[in-house]
């Protein structure tokens, strides 16, 4: 479903990704962990071309992620992305946030999109907030709306970049619950997170990145219980 081959990315002189290969199967949940600055976000952002890789190829559903605007816009409709800072549109209500892209891009009528939007809001437990503006919501609620907004485009893949890192600890659970539900429904997911509990419970595969490389990958059991590499051990040791 996602195939990354030898992806390299530099910012000026700083080489952030030093040749990354990754295959994600349909329905697979891949969790990426690693220290700060190891290139996790950059890698994720290359997948939907928010960052342009310098070399290497990324294909999504057999389609090459490339710079050409029109094909890129089409491709991104299939890839939902959830950001650490939510990035809800503050001038739109929750419902308007959700229906914006489907109405604009899927030729849906407003009514159709709203009906769908309400279902999605129910799914994330926020149907009573449809007409609120984002600034009236808690962080956890914002992030759940952001997930619903991404789902409204009916993506085949969801990318999450530290979706709970900006949240107060007591609000993390509600977002993870929604993500677990999504995983259970068979969504293909790539999740960058520091929530090791989530990784253990939900991930099909855990990837440890450091210094622009994938150092080690495997089932959660393998990575958390019998890590092979020094750096993985060290990183996991720090977390405890």
């Amino acid at each position: 479903m996602i195939t990354c081959k030898d992806v390299v990315k530099t910012f000026g002189k700083l080489e952030v990704l030093k040749g990354i290969d990754l295959d994600v199967a349909p329905g697979e949940v891949v969790v990426i962990i690693g220290p700060s600055g190891s290139g996790k976000s950059t890698f994720l952002r290359c997948m939907n071309h928010l960052e342009a890789a310098d070399s290497g190829t990324i294909t999504i559903n057999g389609k090459l992620v490339e710079t050409k605007e029109s094909s890129l816009n089409k491709l991104r409709q299939d890839i939902g992305m959830v950001f650490q800072q939510f990035n809800l549109f503050p001038h739109m209500t929750v419902m308007e946030n959700i229906i914006e892209a489907p109405v604009l891009l899927k030729k849906m009528t407003k009514d159709q999109a709203k009906k769908k939007g309400l279902e999605l809001l129910k799914k994330v437990g926020l149907e009573e907030k449809a007409n609120e503006y984002p600034n009236r919501l808690s962080g956890g609620q914002k992030q759940r709306v952001a997930i619903a907004r991404a789902l409204a485009m009916e993506p085949k893949i969801m990318l999450f970049d530290e979706p709970t890192s900006a949240l107060d600890p007591e609000l993390v659970g509600e977002v993870l619950t929604v993500m677990k539900q999504l995983a259970k429904e068979g969504m293909t997911m790539v999740v960058v997170t520091h929530e090791m509990g989530f990784a253990k419970e939900v991930a099909d595969r855990v990837i440890f990145m450091d210094g622009g490389y994938i150092i080690e990958q495997g089932s959660p059991k393998m990575i958390f219980e019998t890590p092979q590499h020094e750096r993985t051990k060290e990183f996991l040791g720090h977390l405890k």
């Binding site: 605007e69 800072q85 892209a101 600034n135």
Partner: protein, 220 residues
Amino acid sequence: MSEFLSFATTYLPYLLQGALVTIEIAVIGIIFGSILGLLVGLGRISKNPLLSQISRFYIWVIRGTPLLLQLFVIHFAIPSVFSALTLPPFVSACIALSINAAAYIAEIARGAIQSIDKGQMEAARSLGLSSSQAMRRVIIPQAFRRMLPPLGNEFIALIKESSLVSTIALYDLLRTGQQIISSTYRYMEVFLLVGLIYLLLTTIMSFIVGKIERKVGAYE
């Protein structure tokens, strides 16, 4: 006092006629200045180097020279070379005010657009919106809200600076006042009335902008 009142009632209709001209050129300047200003502002931040250089040059020239000079260039200098471009004072006034306001509004627009968190653009693009759709639906509406306070100041400045058009024989509020003075020699009374009318116009302008601010800012 009653003497002043009777003077005022005699000449107020003339002054109001002048005020109407002032309002007309100010409104036209605001409308076309805003449209042109938004375009120049977008050009200024465009990735196209030619567009951004042209915009930068425009802003540099217009903000770096006096409005009065720009008015004279449009009304006197250009027609002196190309007589086909001779314009009525009203049209010259509208053009000069629009061109001048646009340079300031462009900078206001640029600042506001650049102040929007870049996560907004990324979120919009990640949903599949094109960059122009993202601009139109996500960035500009938010930037507009941030533009309003400085835009209000610019509109008020424009109303006041529009009095410079009195120099090209356009009977705006100020020029009408001067005309009344030339036949009555009542400097004090006339300028008092003219000042009060300008004050009224700028106050109404602040009020309107404030009202729009509250309306579009409901989400904050």
